[in-house]
């Protein structure tokens, strides 16, 4: 594979009549965590779907590992990228370990299950392995779905709001695991709503507004006060704390 793990070049897409991506440019390289931020409806999910070829692009191009995503076979695409959609409704009451093992459909059953157990352990959900997913809380199920994603061991992980439903400790744990994956050479793209966590988790932050890329860069740079007020309608500032810079924001006064 040559070229960055994920590349969007002037991507445009529409859902019905509404333009959801309007000339978006973004690159995610191996070894980095890029956080996608933006208000509701800014196009974060559409960007990720477009990049993975799950929705057609009306213009521009999406590439995975240097190849146009539209030209990849389903198997090739899965070898390059794994996807955690926001929709996490599971259909059947299967044991957690078997759900997680679905991340590796090309391994033999026992290998996939062993890998699934390993990742459930890493997410501190080893005790859930044999429990049915319908008998779990939303947060427990979220960990199982994350384990499923990690089981793919794909070179690019794309996650749509991976922290929803998780308690604060689990949120930090997941960000830690994503950081580890990046250090092991994977590229990570995750959308987050919590700007403080976004700033801490990402090597870079990409801020979207109304289908366009409003700012990309190191977290403090991308989430500068001007962007906060223009995109999020927040007034805020960075504060130094013991665990690194933190964002202190409040709702902006609206006209």
């Amino acid at each position: 594979m040559s070229g960055p793990a994920l590349e969007l070049i002037g991507a445009r897409a529409a859902l019905g009549r509404r333009t959801v991506l309007d000339g978006v440019v973004l690159t995610v390289a191996a070894g980095e965590v890029v956080v996608l931020a933006g208000p509701n409806g800014a196009g974060k999910t559409s960007l990720m779907r477009g990049a993975l070829g799950l929705i057609p692009l009306a213009g521009g191009e999406a590439r995975l590992g240097g190849q146009a995503v539209s030209s990849l076979s389903p198997g090739d695409r899965a070898r390059r990228a794994a996807w955690l959609p926001q929709q996490r409704r599971l259909a059947w009451n299967m044991p957690a370990v078997e759900v997680a093992a679905l991340g590796a459909p090309f391994l033999t059953g026992s290998e996939a299950v062993a890998r699934a157990r390993r990742w459930l352990e890493r997410l501190e959900a080893g005790h859930l392995a044999d429990r049915g997913v319908a008998e779990m809380s939303g947060g427990e199920r979220a960990r199982v779905m994350l384990a499923r994603l990690l089981v793919t061991e794909a070179p690019l992980l794309v996650l749509d709001e991976p922290l929803t439903d998780l308690d604060p400790d689990a949120q930090l744990l997941v960000l830690e695991v994503l950081r580890e994956r990046a250090q092991a050479g994977a590229a990570v793209l995750a959308s987050l709503h919590d700007l403080g966590l976004a700033a801490r988790a990402g090597d870079r932050v990409a801020v979207m507004a109304k289908g366009r890329m409003a700012a990309v860069g190191a977290s403090m740079e991308a989430l500068r006060p001007q962007v906060l007020s223009e995109v999020f309608e927040l007034t805020g500032a960075w504060v130094e704390t013991r665990s690194g810079p933190a964002l202190s924001v409040e709702r902006a006064v609206r006209a």
């Binding site: 993975l52 799950l54 389903p74 259909a91 059947w92 009451n93 679905l102 459909p105 090309f106």
Partner: protein
């Protein structure tokens, strides 16, 4: 083979034996001796040319309907999916009824093909709708509409039928029965069921991925388009063949997967074969029950299965309502 499959298989063999042993006429000791000792004698005819093919047909029809139900449930991620509920059986019946009324019944294989075509059209429509909605309720409602529409068209066929005798014949077929089915019927359904099971098993990895939702399955690396096509083909072929040979028999496709689901811990792939065996077992026993009921007119299998199945549907819907809110 798993222990569950072995148990179900033994159960199926026992049910088939029961289907041969029990019938309207009660055999004496001498009848039994003749049945096994003298081929061509009256008791032997009853046993091997009447009861045996009928029981085998009941088993095959039950197995086909159950696989169809199990595949549809996996494909649509919905425990209430079943060829009857979703209108696949009604569409197959419409196809068969049309062929019968138009007088094509005389040509061999035409009714069967018409039933298969009806089932195939319904299956295609269901998948098209399933691709556009994420809500299981919407799909069930679409199936209900499809079922009602196919039913209305079938009624229209009766309405406009020039011959009341032909209409009565169709009506009789629609009620669902394996009475008077011969080895010829069994001989053409059996290979269809084998093809259905092979197709269903080939689609099993896809059904398993689908439990994660459409998008995650799409990114799994499996060719979901091919998986979906095989699954729909299996479900439609199975429901079409079952309807062609036995008329409309509802709820087996719903009940059989439901009964074995807990034993395979919900896995929609491992569910397929046990469902088939359980469905065959159930319908073979139901047929024994139908023919031994002390009624003047023989109880129709379709009527019996609906009487038992409809309350079960309500029960499963009640329970499933919780799971839908995950």
């Amino acid at each position: 083979m798993s222990r569950l499959e072995l148990c179900l298989m033994l159960g199926a063999v026992a049910a088939l034996a029961l289907g041969v042993a029990i019938g309207e006429t009660v055999f004496t000791g001498r009848d039994w001796a003749e049945a096994f000792g003298q081929p061509g004698s009256a008791p032997a005819e009853v046993l091997w040319q009447v009861r045996a093919p009928r029981s085998v047909c009941a088993f095959l029809v039950g197995a086909a309907l159950a696989v169809s139900g199990a595949v549809l449930q996996g494909l649509l991620r919905n425990p209430l999916a079943d060829p009857g509920v979703l209108g696949v059986s009604a569409s197959a019946a419409l196809g068969g009824a049309l062929a019968l009324i138009l007088g094509a019944g005389a040509a061999p294989g035409v009714i069967e093909l018409a039933a298969l075509a009806g089932a195939g059209l319904a299956g295609g429509a269901l998948v098209a709708v399933a691709a556009r909605t994420r809500s299981p309720e919407t799909l069930i409602l679409f199936g209900v509409a499809l079922s009602a529409f196919a039913g209305a068209l079938t009624a229209l066929v009766f309405n406009l039928s020039p011959s009341p005798i032909a209409a009565a014949e169709v009506m009789n077929w629609l009620m669902g029965s394996v009475q008077n089915r011969s080895w010829i019927d069994a001989a053409w359904v059996a290979p269809v069921v084998v093809v259905v099971v092979l197709l269903a098993r080939a689609s099993a990895p896809g059904l398993r991925q689908l439990s994660l939702g459409e998008e995650a399955a799409e990114m799994s690396g499996l060719s979901m388009r091919r998986m979906r096509l095989m699954a729909v083909l299996a479900a439609a072929l199975a429901a079409g063949a079952a309807t062609a040979v036995a008329g409309v028999i509802g709820f087996v496709g719903l009940a059989a997967p439901h009964l074995v689901r807990a034993a395979v811990r919900g896995d929609p792939g491992r569910l397929l074969i046990p469902s088939a065996l359980a469905g065959g077992l159930m319908l073979t026993l139901a047929d024994v029950l139908a023919r031994t009921m002390p009624t003047d007119q023989e109880l129709k299998l379709g009527v019996l299965s609906a009487l038992v199945g409809a309350p079960l549907f309500a029960l499963i819907a009640w329970r499933a309502a919780r799971e839908w809110r995950l």
